[in-house]
Point group: D2
Chain length 344, copies 4
Amino acid sequence: MLHFDSDYMEGAAPAIMERLCNTNLEQTPGYGTDKYSNNARQLVRSAVGNHFADVHFLVGGTQTNASIIGALLRGAEAVVAAETGHISVHEAGAVEATGHKVITLPGKEGKLEADKLESYLHDFYEDDTWQHMALPALVYISFPTEFGTVYSLKELEAISSVCHRYSVKLFADGARLGYALAAKGCDVTIKDLYRLCDAFYIGGTKVGAMFGEVLVLKNKDLAPHFYTDSKRFGAMLAKGRLLGLQFETLFADDFKLYKECGRNGVEKAMELRAAFEAKGYRPAIDSHTNQQFFTLPNTVIDTIAKGATFEYWGPRGAESSTVRFVTNWATTSEAVAQLAALIP
Amino acid sequence: MLHFDSDYMEGAAPAIMERLCNTNLEQTPGYGTDKYSNNARQLVRSAVGNHFADVHFLVGGTQTNASIIGALLRGAEAVVAAETGHISVHEAGAVEATGHKVITLPGKEGKLEADKLESYLHDFYEDDTWQHMALPALVYISFPTEFGTVYSLKELEAISSVCHRYSVKLFADGARLGYALAAKGCDVTIKDLYRLCDAFYIGGTKVGAMFGEVLVLKNKDLAPHFYTDSKRFGAMLAKGRLLGLQFETLFADDFKLYKECGRNGVEKAMELRAAFEAKGYRPAIDSHTNQQFFTLPNTVIDTIAKGATFEYWGPRGAESSTVRFVTNWATTSEAVAQLAALIP
Amino acid sequence: MLHFDSDYMEGAAPAIMERLCNTNLEQTPGYGTDKYSNNARQLVRSAVGNHFADVHFLVGGTQTNASIIGALLRGAEAVVAAETGHISVHEAGAVEATGHKVITLPGKEGKLEADKLESYLHDFYEDDTWQHMALPALVYISFPTEFGTVYSLKELEAISSVCHRYSVKLFADGARLGYALAAKGCDVTIKDLYRLCDAFYIGGTKVGAMFGEVLVLKNKDLAPHFYTDSKRFGAMLAKGRLLGLQFETLFADDFKLYKECGRNGVEKAMELRAAFEAKGYRPAIDSHTNQQFFTLPNTVIDTIAKGATFEYWGPRGAESSTVRFVTNWATTSEAVAQLAALIP
Amino acid sequence: MLHFDSDYMEGAAPAIMERLCNTNLEQTPGYGTDKYSNNARQLVRSAVGNHFADVHFLVGGTQTNASIIGALLRGAEAVVAAETGHISVHEAGAVEATGHKVITLPGKEGKLEADKLESYLHDFYEDDTWQHMALPALVYISFPTEFGTVYSLKELEAISSVCHRYSVKLFADGARLGYALAAKGCDVTIKDLYRLCDAFYIGGTKVGAMFGEVLVLKNKDLAPHFYTDSKRFGAMLAKGRLLGLQFETLFADDFKLYKECGRNGVEKAMELRAAFEAKGYRPAIDSHTNQQFFTLPNTVIDTIAKGATFEYWGPRGAESSTVRFVTNWATTSEAVAQLAALIP
């Protein structure tokens, strides 16, 4: 049976496993103070081009989203996200558990649109009763989105610009960042993300790491005690070496391994897309990253399901449904070819 | 200048002021343990017809909503409300501050619809990933709604029935309850609310009291420590006499004064509606309670605004806007007649 | 039966009741935007001598403590209080409900001591693991304390100085502030409180008001959105006139009525103290405010209890117990004389 | 340089590393639904002797403590712990971040005493004002404690019995459980913990696992939605295989590897203790687990520090200090011998 359900089904890139084994009995100080963590932080600072960047290692995506969003907001402040944003839908109310509302706006294929965001913010302060409502203080975007789409540099700049005009911070969820950076046509770099966002994270769990996410804050002033805040959130791993070493391995030599992981996921996704297109099925969304969506006749879905697992995203009429196939750093061309052979 | 902005602009029904003055120097024990509070609780239990009803006095509406919703939910549980529900829009994220998500569904003139609610709940559990989402555990309705509309008994029974089928609790925000009960065509009684809801509150602030809301829980098991919970929420008034005595006054003789307050608000609202209709303006919403909405040409609005204040609810096209006029227990026919004279 | 249990047993100073009645049917805008509230805020700004002071009206003490402490703290930050501090003991975990720890230090008759506070803060940062602990970011003191004692100006300056040295904010709970300011030997003024604290509140509920507390922040930057934050906490009263008018009445003419209320409570407390001393009973604590503590033989307590109520504070050995008697703005010399007659 | 600072300095038991490598490219479903997790849960249920036991895998200790304590408490309920309890001191206010107070009682070498606990609970409900205080609803103990001590079965039964009498739940933090179970004289088994506690966790991070903790709830009713609750807390690992496989490896064959890990830590601790005793230094606390405390002359400490790291626990007079040495599953007799050679 083939598996294209999600990008967290395998473990870690072999180079990471090897180093984890080699250093397994090395004794290192805890909580991210080890040499591997220090080095990995340095690599991130170099990549974003600013040594004031404040870098933290966390274990998972929901944890990273909720702990930093909770740290950036105060009192009645709220975060604004697309209706389809991961924090709105699939994190069990983790942001709300930190006491803050998630305000949702309609998006377009997973993306917030700068003009819609601006209209919302403009109208918010036009309303005489705005002081009785949760205050928009942070914007959450996912990069790439839950639909595999990627903001262009121009779109990201526009959103960032609206945020600045309304004194709203900007945070990008990069759970699958590696697959965006490797996507055809993506003109946004990690340096751009650092420049245009107040905070973002570089996802590891889905992009070659065994687990782990790297949170990057523009500077330490944004959340001066985030180290302790993350402890309070239960998000600080005792054995910091595990995270530091993984990201050191992924980020060494100008993010070499991280880029390779991203590239493989995208290449295999493009092969998968081509396989469906060859059978006459157009993608439901024009995604150039590792998530591919197709609206297929239910009979076709049933046929493929005999040999592969993937995610069901809901019916489209009585006879068809939308489904999602996900590739990752470990997907092989052989697996894609086997999947292709299943498509009737 | 006439004022029809809201139903909290005046103080308290004269009978209440009189009793507050008469008992002002009486010494009573604190925190709702005084004889007036005990008696008022008894009057509520009689009205709902069940001596297991658990009755608490609180100071304001947002406080009541957030403290009881927070007490009824655990962990990842969430409350479901109409998009226009007061807790979704105008309470500054108070529910989220207790750690819980407000899930919104489209409503119809402020009302949740039983079939839409059922579809949502049904689909929720059909989704394979439901355990990764905030869990719908409570439904919030406002009675009457923010648009002045009132659920019929049949509608309320349908919602209650859906809630029971899906093990979801039901809570009704009765900030303006008195105006619903007095509305033409309202076939729901306080006994029905008690029977069909797990909790609801009888609003005082907007219906004759100086301030205060009466929270009614079906029984003590729903929130066994709510007395202490309300203290933790800063919602317990030291001088319990103030609340107990007000509600004793409103609820004596089978809710005599409370009903009178409701009736006056509704009567004056109907006079106001008739005044607009006489000038050819149809209500924007068919409200039979104390809130009346009209979509009027902006020139008409400007003319009325010279002699009266009211709430602006937003543009309807380039030339017209929707506005809201609110009456209450203290509104006089003279004031309505003066307003009528302002309508061009 | 005489009542000396607490200072919230009666209603409001007659001048307040009169004005509440006179303005009862006046229509005013809501949520503290009315003219009475504006005027009362102005009176407070004059009293503290700084027009940048940010003034908010709230309903009760626990509500005020929890909402401002919650607004001043972020993430892993905590508040430090004496073990006997009201927030540590008698507020049902309201501060913790905002997500923050209350760190307790031993006090002396209810007061924190500057040198003990300094030792604690010094040692905290000496500990290598301090970043794994809740961070002391705010100090809470009660003025007067729960034992009726009052910080001298020198003591308050010392605490304020320690706070500044360690970048810790200072907040004073003034639930009974009027009785401190009127106490013999109190050399602290409202101006001093404003100068030495980042925030404090002027208690109304226990000092002449029907209900209400006045929160004073040094400036708006401390909690920029506190108006909305208080709404989120359910602490914003719809009918702002009720609070504004009460405090306008108490604070007019250089806090004339507020001072009278304080003075009466203290005078009657001194009469009460003299009555016990005349019978040979020394106060358990040297309080010069409206709370008086005596350790009395249980037989004496039982005798007094036949004609008066008061609070039992716990046994002192097998034969004696400590009890508390509280006077207030409404206590009469006649009542104290009747109590005196009960002392065997 | 030798390292005896803590028990999280190395990685994982070799057998675990090997299996992680062997299964690295195996594709498994996420979030604990994989076969390894299912099997590990089954092994735990067998070990506690009850198939109703509800078993969850989490990543770290603070996370486990805070998420389950938060899930077990409602509203004004609080957890009671020893003053030295890890949740009171070293978790950055994580429990308070879930909204609940940590009430502390003095302990004895890290242990709560049943009679002191009973006195506290008895007195709590004797106090007339108890409904205004945070309500003790859960007791937290650490097993072994932060001082390496272990409750005897009799002590644990006494605490459990007090808890039951006062309707208070009991939770045991087993971060170092393996070292307690292997300790000389420990007469408590995992079955006893299950029988006497409502919840406890079996620590992996410090006892042979790369990371991870196994939370055991008496049954599913205690926290019916804990799976989703843990997601909301950011505590659910996407790649559930990582946790399931580790604990399957540790718990197979009647906890064979887990016991070996515990045994080695304790054996090496006893060797270390003997080394100090041979030089005339008596342990500061009679610990039979993997943490050993000595009060040593500062000159001795300085000498040892030239060749080994360990934790400084504070001064004891001007000339001596208490220090902690920790062994674990990976500590070798050689390392201990080298340490012994450093002791002057």
